[in-house]
Each structure stands twice: as C-alpha cells, then as structure tokens.
Symmetry: C2
Subunit: 237 residues, 2 copies
Amino acid sequence: MQRLTAWGVTGIGEISPGMQLGDVIATACAEPPNGPLQNHDVLVVTQKVVSKAEGRLVDVDPDDPLSHKAIVEAEAVRIVRRRGDLIITETSHGFVCANSGVDLSNVERGQAALLPLDSDRSARRIRDIVRARLGVDVGVIVSDTFGRPWRRGLTDVAIGVAGIAAVVDLRGTADALGRIMQVTEVAVADELASAAELVMGKSNGVPVAVVRGADAEWFRDASINEIVRPASEDLFR
Amino acid sequence: MQRLTAWGVTGIGEISPGMQLGDVIATACAEPPNGPLQNHDVLVVTQKVVSKAEGRLVDVDPDDPLSHKAIVEAEAVRIVRRRGDLIITETSHGFVCANSGVDLSNVERGQAALLPLDSDRSARRIRDIVRARLGVDVGVIVSDTFGRPWRRGLTDVAIGVAGIAAVVDLRGTADALGRIMQVTEVAVADELASAAELVMGKSNGVPVAVVRGADAEWFRDASINEIVRPASEDLFR
C-alpha cells in the first residue's frame, strides 16, 4: 500500500539574492534529519525563497498602500476583480491570484517579493543541482499560497514544476465498478504542494519540504502550463 | 520536526445503503496494516461512500443526458455558470461545484450519488463510532473532488468535518521576520483532503485514508461552514 510522508527541511536559514538555492537545499538534505533524499522524492520549495534567491525583490513604501498597489498593477496583465483593497489579477504566467502574487510578508520591511519570472526554470535548476550533488532524481515543485473563489482560507498550490507532473490525466481509466470514467484530471502538483504546506506552516520559517511516496508514474518532464487554464476555456474571468 | 504520513485504508469493500460506515471503518482500522489509530489521526472519507451508506442515491437514465441534468438542477439553489454540458451550481450547503456534486462514477449504472444532506453530521457520526469502538479521538473529514476556476485539474477538498478545524486562522501571528502577518487563514481541511487523495487515487477503490501528524492545535469542534464563503463576500458568482 502506498504511503505518503512529508516533512519540513530544517536548517535552510535566511535566503538572500544571489544564493544558489539548489546548493542550499542539497546541503540541508544530504543527511538526517532532512535526508538522505531518494529517487522519486518531491521537494516542495516556497515561492518566497525562490524569489529572494533570484533577487525578485523591489522597494516598496511600507507606509503608502499606493506604492504596493502600483507594483501589483505593473505585474498584472489583466485585472480580474477589484473590491476595496483586494485586487485579483492575472499574471504574465497565466496565474489568477490576489495582488499578482506580490508579497510583503516574510520579506524585509520596505521590500516586496515578486513571483519568479519562470518558476519551471527555477524548479529545474534546483532539480539539476540536487541530482548533480546528491545523485538522486527528485521532482521539484515551487509553491505559493493562493486564495480561491467560493471557499474561505488559502491553500498552497504549484506555480512551477520540474520532473513531476502538474496534472495527471485519468480520463478513460476504468473506475472501481469497471465503468469508464469521463473526466478525472487530477492536479497532483497542487495536492503535493498542499500536503507540504501542512508541515511548513506559514510563520515558522520552514520554506522547503520533502514529500516521499508519490506515485512513480507521476515523475516525468512537465510544465506548470499543464495547470494554467487558458482564458478561452475559463468561465470566471 | 512535524512529520505527516498518509495511507489508504484497505479492506473497506463495497458500501451499500444502510451500512453503518463508522463501524466498517473502525473494523478496518482496528489493526495493521490500517491501524491501530491514534488520537489526533485524521480519517478522510470520500463523499461517494458516505452518500452510498446514507442511501443518497437516485435513479438516472444512463442513456438520457437530460435525466442527469434534471437531478443536477434539482440539487442546485443557484446556477453559477453554464456552458454546453457543464453546469456550475451552488448547492444547498453553499458549495459551488460542477453538477451540484451529483456523480455517476463509481456507482451502479442507472444510479447517481447525491451529496450527503449534512456532511458535518456524517463526519461526526463516524468520529463518534470510532471513539466508542476504538477509544481514540480522531478528526474526520468527508472529502469530494472539485474543479476550480483558472486552474486545470481537480483536487480533493473537504465538504464535512468533525473534530478538526476546516480553516485555521493565523491572522496576527508574527512571520519569521517578526512582522505581523495580515491575512493567513489556511484551509487545512482542504489540504488534508488533498494529501489523502494522493494515496487514494481515483479509480482503485480506496475510499478512506488516514493522515497522521496534523498539528494538535487543529483538533477542535468545527463545521464546514468555516470554509463556505458567503455569496455576499464572494466576487465570482
């Protein structure tokens, strides 16, 4: 029976621009308690540390809400909804989220973190370094914390993947009664990101988690574009 | 360091109307490989078996799409969007999902499964029986598989809870740099449902999973209403 295990990676420390995040993670995961890693482990890395390592930080006036708002609008390709201070936007990546993913928490006062330019590339770089340093083939997911319509509370989702599927297509697979199932595309990368969030928490400074036990069939070349629904297919923008 | 583990519960077998699901689960989880359960374990139970046990099945003409559609509309309190065969509705519980949650897969041909009338109550009943039978205090989540706007692929979410929070409010908690975080309400029940889905799959007939290692602070009286966003707060219906 398949068993999934997830744990937060300790000892990552503060990440600053120019640091090679893959090296930091490989060092932290080389031995207990975080490692050793195995083939088919999944590393879930929060957007915040990816953005910091890649220098995706901009100055913001912490006392002027308009300063933050201007950055949010500059990062948007479409304003989807606006109500009071809340702005739901579509980013250049095709993500629809609050504030274009621009974040003021867990960064220095006076700075805001932008989303990585290409989170698949960020994930791939971490994956490549981990393979080179530790000799294991892992999947890497860059995660972020998004809200959603209709339901309160945030969940972590994937915004970049490497070596692990974003969406697994079970269309045409027989269900337990032998009927052909009509549509079952499962967003496994989002579910893995959510599982990882449960061991990272939001305020305890654990920006990386390992998830072990994902289905071996999910490990393949992949792109977050699998999960981005084009506007033409979407009923809510 | 917190470690989360999830596994599918084997040996549940086929569930039919009138069966006491809590007893079935307690029996399956009394000993290895599924148990013994511990205090603060979370049982995630898919809606399908809850609906079957509670007799929430209606006849449908499998050769007439209008037959299914009529049931979907009867279960809806609001049609949120409609495109071709796809109907996004709001149910009496306040859930917004495809087809009012009415499901044709994994039920006998000629039948459709409706959502439980009160999934919190369904969860509570399972929790009470497990406590009485096995002497452990577990959280119970009834899960279902929902789509979402903007992102392809389905994820499992909570539609009922007992003994475990739906949403954990971290507003006001200091972030790792000591700043007060503005809004961090985490939908832990949805994340637990997603973690469980990863070990249940969609077509292999494992309708129950155990998740061990959830934060002890999340265990409390709760209701799925914590996660249902009222229409008045919602920008997308």
